[in-house]
Amino acid sequence: MPWTREQMAARAAKELRDGFYVNLGIGIPTLVSNFIPKGMRVQLQSENGMLGMGPFPFEGEEDPDLINAGKQTITELPTTSYFSSADSFGMIRGGHIDLSILGAMQVAQNGDLANWMIPGKMVKGMGGAMDLVAGVKRVVVVMEHVAKAKDGSEDPKLLKECNLPLTGTGVVDLVITDLGVFSIDKKGGSGMTLIELADGVTVEEIKAKTAAEFKVDLNGRQSNAA
């Protein structure tokens, strides 16, 4: 069975370490905050100028001056600090954030990432995505393994080369899909390696749904995300 969104988020949470400063994207990455292990201290950064994001507010306690980068109302914690957008991206670009978990349209086997623009469609903008993937120490992508069209056809999202405009070149360290986990040697240039399979998913199934070339190194076991 392919992993559910929750199982993918739970697998991504295994990349967290005690003391990490982390930026989470919208969608499945947001769910990762539900799986921070008890006792582990992780500070979430919001690129609109906040470190130490708290939970969503109780109804009636929303503060229009306190939002995350998805423009959702949030709350602060005893550890919270606020700062300008310039300081925020100084943290990001300067390599002070340990981990960025975000979604993607396409990832190439060399770590190239495309997630902001489809030519011919109204482009909303890259927001902070280009800064995050260029500056954050470790970049983890969480996405569906293939893009499903309305007519039921499927297009691979893990490619030899991205054909959508790039967000960053050679930036992705790890890709978690609903079918498995791939590591990418973005600096060394030795490409993509399948390192884990979702329960009941076979290497053959993944090969059929992946346009990228990849090695297989499963350490002789199938992993269980949740």
């Binding site: 994207g25 947001t30 979430l44 109780f58 939002i67």
Partner: protein, 245 residues
């Protein structure tokens, strides 16, 4: 010289001319100088270039200036919340320059600090780097980006004193402090106006030297784009939403 004007319209009187470049603070609708934006609308000036992270939403913030077709060009990082924007952009009426959000913030910071250009690794190898100088430092590639400086900046602060010293509140700070530094004429709207000496000098975010004019806007209507709450019985996990991808 008194920096405090009686209202937004008089603070802007005679300043806004056709074709000017204006910076407007805020992230989404959080921390936008709404009263000053309305006054720019009332000025009737046309062909304006706005530097602002977003373009408001339909009917609020810069969305109001799209209604009157006063904006010719936007320099922004994300404009997704606005139907009128899409319409005018797709019909060719509105020019759009996308900047990565951190590059935009730094271009404004640099412009205000007298730095004409800088190198960043953001956007190397992407459309953003096309036509720009790329240079290698310590074996890594960086793209050159230029500083931004405007004719007018309009910013929103929580508190200000009569000297123009400003304090922002929570995430309503965002682009406001850099924009306050990066224009010939910075005008601040403040929710609380206090006499000089009332704000602890150790706790000021924007020193008054950057602020030329001020207007007191008590109890402004504030907008929430994505009202998100939890039930009192739900566990208190952090609300970890970030990039809009």
């Amino acid at each position: 010289m008194d920096k405090v004007y009686s209202d937004a319209r008089s603070a802007l009187a005679g300043l806004v001319k056709d074709g000017m470049t204006i910076m407007a603070g805020g992230f989404g609708l959080c921390g936008i100088p709404e009263a000053l934006i309305e006054a720019i609308r009332d000025s009737g000036a046309k062909d304006l270039t706005f530097i602002s992270n977003n373009a408001g939403v339909d009917g609020v913030g810069l969305g109001r200036l799209l209604e009157t077709r006063q904006i010719r060009k936007m320099i922004s990082s994300y404009v997704g919340e606005n139907k009128l924007f899409a319409q005018q952009y797709l019909s060719g009426e509105l020019e759009l320059e996308f900047n990565p959000q951190g590059t935009l913030a730094e271009r404004i910071r640099a412009g205000g600090a007298g730095i004409p250009a800088f190198y960043t690794k953001t956007g190397v190898g992407t459309l953003i780097a096309e036509g720009k100088e790329v240079r290698e430092f310590n074996g890594e590639k960086y793209v050159m980006e230029t500083g931004l400086f405007a004719d007018i900046s309009v910013v929103h602060a929580w508190k200000g004193d009569t000297e123009g010293n400003l304090v922002y509140r929570k995430t309503a700070r965002n682009f406001n402090p850099m924009m306050a530094t990066a224009s010939r004429m910075t005008i601040a709207e403040v929710e609380h106006l206090v006499p000089a000496g009332e704000i602890d000098p150790d706790c000021m975010h924007t020193p008054g030297i950057f602020v030329k004019r001020m207007v007191h806007v008590p109890n402004p209507a504030k907008h929430i784009e994505q009202r998100t709450t939890r039930k009192r019985t739900e566990s208190a996990v952090p609300a970890g939403a970030g990039e809009e991808v």
